[in-house]
Amino acid sequence: MSTSTFSIEFRDVSLTRPNGARALDHFSLGVESGEVLALVGRSGAGKTTVIKLVNRLLAADKGAVLVEGRDTREWDPIALRRRVGYVLQDIGLFPHMTVADNVAVVPGLERWAADRTAVRVQELLELVGLPPRQFAARWPDELSGGQRQRVGVARALAANPPVLLMDEPFGALDPMTRAELRAEFRRIQQKLRKTVIIVTHDMGEAFALGDRVGVIDAGRLVACDTPVAMAASVDPRVRQLLDAVVARA
């Protein structure tokens, strides 16, 4: 067993997609405990692959992924996934469950007592800014996109996992709601100090949320630094993503 000082560490990971394309190519990266790493890249660059390696929805062909110092291949995948919260781009709320039931899924899997779960659901809905009195009994199809994403975050945090993975969490939202949720995310992270990998194609979002920003291109990590240092980068692949932000502003 290898040791690691990182909460999450990628060691020279390569992965080939079933269609033969290279998804990741000698990818190495460490994320400190309590750090927010924003991973930026264009579509198909391999961002989602990186995230799915952490909760072992995918497994590496070469190299190793370590979570809390343990190779994910040594983890029981079920136990691993319950220690790693996951917020999907399309949220994936269960349409046949109320908001409260969606949030209570992982505590339920972990066989928490009913009153403990109830307290936790209240607490989380408060945390993500959805007053339980008003929202607990609602159904996913009665919520706006932003509200749904908040439920997705609450669900991922339910059993208090040390690690949180977010795949384009605000991608499908309008700019106003997106800005609001970013602020909300920063507030929550201030409180919880989770280890977070957040994937986005928007450099602006990466700058707004990340303690560090990683740029991924064609399955390789081409740069990884603080937002300030990144802004000064001369790497053309980084500049391209930066220019997109400037052009839009």
């Binding site: 929805l57 994936g92 269960f94 109320t98 899997l109």
Partner: protein, 507 residues
Amino acid sequence: MPNLFSFWIAHRAELALLLGQHILLVAASTLAAVAMAVPLGIFAARRPRLAAPLTAIANIVQTVPSLAMFGFLLPVPFIGGVGARAALVVLILYGLLPIVRTTIAGLQGIDATIREAGVALGMTPRQLLRLVELPLALPSIVAGVRVAAVVGVGSATIAAAIGAGGLGEYIYRGLSMVDTTVILAGAVPAAVLALVVDGSLLWMERQLSARRRSSSRRAVATAAVVVTGLALLASGVAARKAGGAIIVGSKNFTEQLVLGELIAQSIEREGLPVQRRLNLGGTLICDRALLTGDIDVYVEYTGTALTAVFHQPVAMDSSAVFNSVRDLYARTGRTLLPPLGFNNTFAILVRGSDARSLRLTTIDDAARESAHWRAGFGYEFVERPDGYTGLAKAYGMRFPEAPHVMDLTLSYRALAAGQVDMIAGDATAGLITGLDLVQLDDNRHYFPPYDAAAVARAETLLRYPAARRALERLSGRVSPDAMRAMNYAVDVEHRDIAAIAREFLDQ
């Protein structure tokens, strides 16, 4: 319509029994089909390579006509044969396909993101199935159950052909008596039952798709309670019919029903309990049922036994035929009792008006006209060695087109209505007088003798000597005239068979 209501009122106990049996057949087979098809669907949904062939097989099973399916199962030990058990097997087979298909469709239709969310939250495959996949596929599965149950209500009417009971009894009885009231007495409740089943399952499906878990659970629970309640009620009603030492069978035409009832009452008068399994599909089904012990006794005709059951060449002498058939039965553990007293030969029939205008008295006369006639025959007559092919050869008949093959009983009506010009009926059929038909003389002696005689399992007769006495008492007592009169009373006067049999035995 007033006839229909008075029929129901007069037969209310029987109607309740048949309805109960029908519901029980459908409920039991649908529940069993669900229990098998849902796991099968779950299994197949995860293996796309398996799903396609499985659906194909289920499709093929579905296309086999139910009557043919009952036929296939007749000789199969344990699951086949005659009665409710075999009917259940067939109904379950029919129920599997729609449920398997909608289970697969329901599971495959679930949004991949939702499934991925479940996996990423740390659900085991089993938890994913229980908490996410099955609840989301449930409306689709219920839609399949709905189709299965409605198809089941229909198929179950055909189960009466193998003596499984149910509302089909009235339909078959009505067909054999050519009595629309009796047909409707079974068909109307069956249709209403189908609508009720369809409506309540559709309601359940809607409740489930409304994604209101608490209320949908209540709906499912309510429906389950109702179904179970009905099934229990039905089985209670059906159970009253069960029991009875001796099982009397019959084929599915009027004369056979009368003779079956006659035998049953005669045995009952000896103080033995009797179970009636009348109206079975035909000679083959009755013979199998007698062989396997699904019935103990029925009435067969010597010529039919010789040619259709034992595949012997046609013979003309009445007592020689009886003796050889008796020996053949004895070798297979069955006893042929002395003839009842009438010969129900095939009767080549034409309309009375034609007979008079064309001066037809013999089959030879009819053969002359055959070049511009249409003929209509029952299924058996077309197939049997003593049937159509030999008849046409013996008399040199040449019809411009192949004979219409139709239900034997319906052929009388078709002849009277002018849709065909010649049929092969039963010499003792009451409809001959009722519809003004004329029987032509078999002047070339083509047809072998068809002396009616009871045939019983030897074992049963040994165990119940009183049953043998009852059967022997009927020997020689049923004259051709008496038989025709009883058939006439049923087919033309629409009188109750049990009452007719009772009057005959009282004489």
